[in-house]
């Protein structure tokens, strides 16, 4: 009986009336047992989910608070969260990717005290994580870890053709031409998926362009910098890539390099880790290098992941306790991070030189000096309008139009109009 959770109890009530009624008679002590539930994403690194469950069990043992962890696919989070908010019921703790705290800010409790404790210990939160977890000055979620995009290339092919490791996006064009000739094109998606935005962003930023101004209102996409970026994509598409990139989903570039077709892709380190796990022959030949830069510096897309607590939660205190347990002790946090095999890295400054990066020489490229990390829409704050611009795939669609025949100017004006309509609406 002691194992009866609220949910199970409700299930029982609904299912078998009598048993449910009997269950209400549980002694008050058991009824008061503290418990929390956590709705977590299905980690790209499955081992991290296993580690989380293990830490959860220790947490229950040490504190007597029961913890129930449910997992959900990343693609389904939006629907699930919306229904939990709408019905004001569900889990206590929720995993929050990138801009999510901005989306649900009015529904999340202030976790500033927890973040302050962590920052005291581990140093400041990385800017990309701070910009997304702190909504108008209030920490709506606690940054947990992050995964950034990284230039992933076939070292063997580069050596064979004695190509220079690209230091700028222009260099990538030079190398890409050779790669395509060798039958190993560059693989940058230009389609309605998020990887497309993750590459378009850094290219735009490094040429000095932006979608929306820092003020979060003024649309700035129609600029010579954007034109420069589009021109770059045009020649990349023509000389370094194949039309397949117009059809790609988030998994396609990984597959392309893992199966030995692509010579260069832009993706989180997952492409390599999975190749290694599946013992694919390409695993040995894949390596990473520092994100290419441009006239306006070196920028990279970052995917920070936070953890938040719903306002409607009746167990906010034990929920906070779990966050402290998971992230607040150096040993536990390290153990948690190590389980992800460099897929997810610490988001606190003093932990940047993390031991996980030394577990494989190919992770050296992940410690990218001089690279600035941002989330989609930067430098505009991720307000809901900026998110609608992101989620409407306006940038990849602008590029797709341009590489399939629309003039650079027209594509840019189209994007500007669409963005302005969103800003006005």
């Amino acid at each position: 009986m002691s194992g009866i959770t609220r949910r199970h109890f409700l299930t029982t009530t609904a299912g078998t009336g009598l048993a449910g009624i009997l269950a209400t008679g549980v002694p008050p002590v058991l009824g008061q047992q503290r418990e929390v539930s956590y709705l977590c994403w299905n980690n790209f690194a499955p081992l991290m989910d296993k580690k989380l469950a293990e830490i959860g069990q220790r947490f229950t043992k040490d504190t007597g608070i029961k913890l129930k962890i449910d997992h959900i696919a990343a693609a389904q989070q939006a629907a699930k969260y919306a229904s939990e908010v709408q019905s004001q019921a569900g889990h206590d703790l929720v995993e929050m990717r990138m801009h999510f705290p901005w989306l649900y800010d009015s529904q999340l409790i202030d976790l500033g005290d927890l973040v302050a404790d962590l920052e005291k210990k581990y140093g400041k939160v990385l800017s990309s994580a701070g910009e997304t977890a702190r909504v108008r000055g209030t920490w709506r979620a606690v940054p947990q870890y992050h995964a950034m995009f990284v230039a992933t290339y076939r070292e063997d092919l580069f050596k064979k053709a004695s190509l220079k490791i690209p230091d700028t996006w222009e260099d990538l064009y030079t190398a890409g031409k050779e790669l395509k000739k060798m039958g190993h094109p560059v693989g940058i998606p230009i389609s309605q998926n998020y990887d497309s935005i993750s590459t378009a962003g850094p290219v735009l930023w490094s040429s000095g362009g932006q979608e929306v101004d820092k003020d979060g209102k003024t649309v700035r996409i129609n600029s010579p910098q954007t034109a420069q970026m589009i021109e770059w994509y045009k020649k990349m598409f023509r000389d370094c890539m194949e039309p397949e990139v117009l059809s790609w989903d988030d998994a396609s570039n990984n597959q392309a390099i893992q199966q030995g077709k692509a010579g260069w892709i832009h993706n989180p380190v997952s492409a390599y880790i999975v190749a290694k796990q599946m013992k694919l022959p390409t695993a040995d030949t894949i390596n990473h290098h520092r994100t290419p830069g441009g006239p306006a510096g070196r920028h990279e897309t970052d995917v920070p992941r936070h953890i938040g607590i719903w306002k409607f939660s009746k167990n906010a205190e034990p929920a906070k306790e779990f966050i402290r347990y998971l992230l607040g002790k150096r040993e536990t946090y390290d153990e948690f991070i190590m389980s992800a095999d460099a897929f997810n890295l610490p988001v606190y400054e003093k932990l940047q030189d993390h031991p996980v990066l030394k577990t494989d020489p190919k992770y050296a490229g992940l410690k990218a000096e001089g690279v600035q990390y941002h989330c989609y829409g930067w430098p505009a704050p991720p307000s809901d309008k900026v998110q609608l611009i992101t989620n409407s795939f306006i940038m990849p669609n602008m590029i797709a139009k341009a590489v399939t025949g629309t003039s650079t100017k027209d594509a840019m004006v189209w994007a500007e109009n669409e963005m302005k309509k969103i800003m006005a609406g």
């Binding site: 409700l10 299930t11 790209f44 997992h71 699930k80 229904s83 709408q86 004001q88 569900g90 597959q255």
Partner: protein
């Protein structure tokens, strides 16, 4: 059989071939994918239509033992069977009333029930989540048993309405003249005649709830409560990594029970539709 007839029959079979290829090829490909070793599955130079490097059951073992697939399937079955049964009962009585009885608002009620079909589920589930929560069914498969009838009942009602109309009124009136009440007449005389129609409605309802995804996703979350399609897709699609072999193994395993059911009931099914849909 004359020679001409045999040739004719052969021709019919030949004409069927493209249809069968279209229907079966994807299934064949899914089955093949589920049986291939990863090495061959992800080999770009391999022939995709054959297994050359030996079949493997590793995707099936992963699915069955590394995930809670069996629990999910059990949930799916429970939800599907119960919601089908509930909808069938509700649909039968409603259809009988709408088809046979004269009472206030009967025609507009029929249309009204049909119109609920038009309501797009793409956002309905948000307010519905609220109702589910009021009912105290958050994160419970019973929420699905309660909500699936919302799209099954209109369907069953309409199908069965047509069916009841085909049963001659006299059959019932005879029984009632002999002293049976209307309910007795319905139970003993009309329902037995409509068994094919009931089977047909049941099969359709079964398929629809077996395939349902969005309600299952939003109203349940723990591994002990979710259904097979939700479990399989959330466990085996991890962002930019798809576990193709096991995913397809899941597709194969979760379609087998219904195929068996259909083949078994198919004749009933066809005659059931005949009466129901036409009249």
């Amino acid at each position: 059989m004359t020679r001409r007839k045999i040739t004719q029959r052969l021709a019919m079979h030949l004409l069927l071939v493209p249809f069968l290829v279209f229907a079966l090829f994807p299934f064949y490909h899914m089955t093949l994918t589920s049986l291939k070793q990863n090495k061959e599955l992800y080999d770009r130079t391999a022939v995709p239509l054959l297994i050359r490097q030996g079949p493997t059951l590793e995707h099936y073992t992963k699915l069955l033992w590394d995930t809670a697939f069996l629990t999910w399937t059990k949930n799916s079955l429970l939800v599907t069977v119960l919601s089908t049964f509930v909808s069938l009962v509700i649909g039968t009585v409603a259809a009988y009333a709408l088809a046979r009885l004269k009472f206030f608002g009967v025609a507009s009620l029929g249309t009204g029930i049909f119109v609920t079909y038009l309501v797009p589920t793409s956002l309905l589930f948000l307010p519905l989540a609220q109702v589910v929560n009021w009912l105290g069914l958050g994160d419970s498969k019973w929420a699905l048993v309660v909500t699936y009838p919302t799209f099954l009942v209109p369907f069953c009602t309409w199908l069965l309405m047509g069916y009841f109309r085909t049963v001659p009124k006299e059959v019932e009136e005879c029984a009632m003249v002999d002293g049976a009440t209307r309910i007795q007449a319905l139970w003993r005389i009309v329902l037995p005649i409509t068994v094919p129609g009931l089977v047909c409605a049941a099969l359709f309802a079964f398929t629809l709830s077996w395939n349902e995804f969005i309600y299952a996703l939003t109203f349940t979350s723990s591994s002990e409560q979710i259904t097979a399609s939700v479990g399989v897709t959330s466990e085996l699609v991890r962002g930019d990594i798809y576990y193709w072999g096991s995913l397809m193994a899941g597709a194969v395993l979760s379609s087998v029970p219904i195929v068996v059911l259909y083949v078994f009931f198919l004749d009933y099914y066809v005659s059931g539709l005949t009466a129901g849909a036409i009249k």
